[in-house]
Amino acid sequence: MTYTDAAAVSAIVRAIEAEQNYVYAVGLAGAFLKGAGRRRAANQLAEHRARIQANSVLIDSSAVPDTPPGFQPPTPITNAASARSALASLNNALVGAYADVASTTEGTDRSEAIARAQASARDAITWGAASQAFPT
């Protein structure tokens, strides 16, 4: 389904932008991670790129934001600990982005947005965040 409603388009665009930022950050973080953390980051790179593609087909192509040349993470990524912290924080931010998508879409699109919100909340824990009642 292609959404034309302004609220839905806006929510989907914000989700795409949040995913683009995550992809950039996880690439940056991967340079500081080793072992299981690096493998997880690599897997997430593919997963979140796929999410960008999946979100992009929900709106008219003219509304899909271009990939920005760079992204400033909320906290600088300078070592493994700051890499994990940044990825945890960005995953929690994705929960809110997908809650907005869920509230403006329907059917399987809504189901997928909810599932992505849940996966992002779990990933935040995996990267070291504490759980929150309303992850942000």
């Binding site: 929960v95 809650a99 809504r110 189901s111 849940q118 779990r122 824990i125 009642a133």
Partner: protein, 178 residues
Amino acid sequence: MTAPGEGFERTAGMSRRRVLQGVLTVPALGAAATALAACGSDEPAPEAIEIEPSAPPEPDETLVEELALIGAYEGTIAVHSELRGTLTTIADQHRAHARELGATEEDLAAIEPIPPQAASAEDAVTNLIKRERNAAQQRAQAAEQSSEPERIRALTFIAASESSHVPELKDVRSGVSA
């Protein structure tokens, strides 16, 4: 990103406790109540308006389940006080969920602890993990089926939070079994 707003409208102005208990006051005069449109003695005979009895609203299953989840945490903490730290934090998050779904402080105070049916602390945490998985799935389904955007948004946040409790509880269980 902002968290959900301050709760939902109360169901038809009824107290949440009453909805939770599934108890409704049936009009004392029977199936139909009659309201008078005017009462003055000098006025024409009052026009009777028939009010159809409304069907009792269904208890909010999502909220009832959330309150039961809190009871399970309280029961586990009561028996396994060594787990108090993380479990209290998670139980507090469920209280925030319940408030968002419309629970009153009176509702929260009335929750009865549900003793864990487990032989050990490890098993008790495993039971909580199962409950959280079910809760996350049920909140997701409720969000899928809702037609109110704000409720969908809140339920998505809650479903995500409850899903995140699973890996957190697995860490707790690892600590118990170590």
